[in-house]
Symmetry: C2
Subunit: 181 residues, 2 copies
DNA sequence: GCATGAAAGGTTATAACATAACATTACCAG
DNA sequence: CTGGTAATGTTATGTTATAACCTTTCATGC
């Protein structure tokens, strides 16, 4: 409660460009998470932290059993309930989202603000970008309101091709090399 | 090809009101389907037809194994591939949609027009209403376009309470009785 | 320190959802 | 009526998720 909510957002980087400092994503996500768990007075245990790290390792949504495999390799207990409990916790604390269309999980880029995640998911590279959009939220509410429907949770997952993969697929050879730093 | 696309749409009824002639939904859906299969020169076999009927029996999305159970009870072959093949066919022909957030399937209310399904799903009564919305489609494209993202498939599933269940839950006793015909 | 109770984690089993692979049957075109 | 393709039958298994019950951890009050 004593902390201002001005922590940098972990994924103000964009999932679809490879030229961002991804360590920052992870570090900021973990810092945000620690802070948020303190504020909520809940325990950020090793397995919960590790699962959060794992789903932040890339911007690709991760299946529960992929996470489980990693955990097992690192000496954690590796029965399904372990990972599903950790994921349940992260979802409750709004530190992660579930991608229904993929049965997969991904770190939440804006855990501080209450929001629903809107996702752009590239079918080619597998990356998913979460985008907050107050405008889209309004439009969806409007859409539901016309039917007298009261929205509680929103699943908005748009699949297709990210800018990078559109380019690679249309010009598979002559693409400009990307900056490596 | 020789048929005009003016078949009545099976779900111009609304899933959230109980005072519609639901037989019409089913009949129209089946007629549309027969027509569409003729047009596409594909076979509308008994099991395909029965699965379509089953997912039209109510406006609640149905799980594959629920369908399977029904089929089994009726003497159809009842191994999983049977129902998954039928569903695959119906999805291909755009006669059904998959609801990712529920792992369930529902009849498509506007099979004639190419479209993505936008769904309002009531967590209380389980009904799902599909709504076409060119406006929402535009807004989603716009949203994606800002990121240079090319949408191929859209998963838009809004869960909450339908008008009827909002009323029942807030005034559990004093609700007005519904017309029975 | 230590009792204690709630939260977290361990363990085993199983439920729920979905597909692979290969054999058989149905159906139509020639 | 035959040959090929689409559909279905059959068996097995893969993948995702949860139930149920037991043990451990850890903050708290004594």
């Amino acid at each position: 409660m004593s902390q201002p909510d001005d922590t940098p957002n972990a994924a103000d980087c964009t999932a679809f460009s490879s030229d961002h400092n991804h360590h920052q994503c992870i570090d900021q996500a973990l810092n945000s998470a620690r802070l948020l768990c303190q504020q909520h007075n809940v325990r950020f245990t090793p397995v919960r932290q590790r699962v959060l790290e794992l789903i932040w390792q890339s911007h690709k949504p991760l299946g529960a059993y992929q996470i489980l495999e990693q955990l097992g390799a690192e000496g954690f207990n590796s029965a399904p309930p372990t990972v599903y409990r950790a994921l349940e916790f992260l979802l409750e604390q709004r530190l992660a989202h579930r991608i229904a269309s993929l049965n997969a999980y991904i770190g939440c880029s804006h855990p501080q603000q209450p929001h629903q995640g809107y996702f752009l998911i590239c079918r080619e590279c597998g990356s998913a970008q979460e985008l907050p959009s107050e405008l889209l939220a309004q439009q969806l509410r409007q859409f539901a309101k016309q039917q007298g429907f009261a929205i509680e949770t929103e699943t908005v997952e748009l699949s297709g091709l990210c800018p990078g993969c559109q380019a690679s697929l249309s010009t598979p050879v002559t693409q400009t090399p990307e900056p490596t730093a």
